[in-house]
Symmetry: C2
Subunit: 242 residues, 2 copies
DNA sequence: AAGTGGTCTAGACCACTCT
DNA sequence: GAGTGGTCTAGACCACTTA
């Protein structure tokens, strides 16, 4: 049996959360079937029921489990990963889809901000932003053209080589910022000549345009990003709850 | 001062949640500023700190508040509504955007299911589905063409007149089902001649195609819906968290 | 050092569902 | 009636941040 180490620095509720998660993965807990009751978990691992609830709450919030009053807690029947509704970088998204991401930096320069960028990033009108344009590949096919604007002073230590890899990684590891939320607008457009050439498609072909503003956990916007995805190769997936 | 009624059937944590929510609304609690500490709330309302945490947890999950270890709990600066990430019907969505929704039913018939429908709705291959095709208007402009498939037996009491209104309303009020989650795929396409005529646009114009499967709280799929939105008039908005 | 959120306990009573 | 999740209490110790 998977055990819980009460002396570990890892919180007990998190250990239990991982145990349940893994048992769903390996089929010990079956989709649509009830998991052990909260009191059973508390007895089994000799922990408080409130701690059990904390673990289960997180999984319910993620949509992996659902509760039925007076009946029990059940594994959500759909096994599709919720992971796509999470805020991910392009690289993380592609890896989730089983594809190999790659990037090529086309532009890496400082530019004065226009009104839209200034407003999105909450910058002064006369300030400068770092502008990065990248072709994003998946399994060596061009998947998207991505134009990012970030506050220049925040990104002063970012090297173009890092931009070929992952900017999110740089922000989280080097700047120690917590990336937390993003606001996105998605719309359908058609490719103009320039975009078509970059994406290796034809003029007039459909393109999924995503505008994203990304915020740290303090609510500070640090990136405005405009992505043009080749519609033939990419669809956007999300989950909604009522 | 807003009070908490301990004898009310309304849970205490929910009463506190509503108090905090309203104080954010009316500006008593300012964006970016700290709210009272958990211990202060507990003392103020003479309730347990765990109950306070339960109220705050919900608001943190919704993104209205955020916590900083050792520092306090703060109001998220962004005032944008989270409402668009919720599972809404077309009508609800349009009303949120300040537009007046209207529908016209083009097709209302029973059809044998094909493989995609059967798989999406978890139906047998020889069963029938109710197929409804509707033009969706916003402020009298055609916004989308929507084709829905639902299990025929489940929808046997649905009248075409109700479909002009809201099918979600019928499901929730008449069938007493809880609509809970939806899985969506969004992609960009271009309008063919037929679609262009219906949407009052030109052939080759961009169209946002949304495929949605909607589930009840028991995880049972009850609707497969394919919507073609006029890209000039509609963009999809969502929020992501890491 | 004082205050904050993070974690945890060992109980309790309630409304609900199922048999 | 037995079992379930929903709510709630009154403490406790911890790591962290700020002054």
């Amino acid at each position: 049996m998977l055990m819980i180490n009460k002396n570990s620095p890892v919180p007990i509720y998190y250990q239990l959360e991982e145990i349940i998660r893994q048992q769903i993965d390996d089929g010990t807990l079956m989709p649509g079937k009830a998991i052990p009751s909260e009191r059973e978990y508390a007895e089994l691992y000799q922990i408080s029921r409130m701690t059990v609830r904390q673990a289960i709450n997180k999984l319910v919030n993620e949509g992996l489990l659902y509760r039925k009053k007076g009946t029990g807690t059940f594994v959500q029947p759909k096994k599709v990963e919720q992971v796509f509704q999470k805020l991910t970088s392009f690289s993380e998204d592609m890896i989730e889809r089983g594809l190999v991401p790659k990037s090529k930096v086309l532009t890496f320069e400082h530019v004065p901000v226009n009104d839209l960028i200034a407003k999105s990033l909450k910058l002064e009108n006369n300030s400068t932003a770092l502008k990065i344009v990248r072709i994003r590949y998946a399994d060596d096919s061009p998947m998207a053209i991505e134009t990012s604007y970030m506050p220049a002073d925040l990104m002063k230590d970012l090297q173009p080589e890092q931009a070929e890899e992952s900017i999110y990684e740089f922000i989280e590891k080097n700047l120690q910022l917590k990336i937390q939320t993003a606001y996105q607008e998605l719309e359908a457009t058609i490719a103009d000549e320039k975009l078509a050439n970059l994406l290796n498609i034809s003029e007039g072909d459909p393109v999924l345009l995503i505008n994203r503003i990304t915020y740290t956990s303090d609510g500070i916007p640090f990136e405005f990003c405009q992505s043009s995805f080749c519609a033939y190769r990419y669809r956007f997936i999300n989950y909604l709850t009522r």
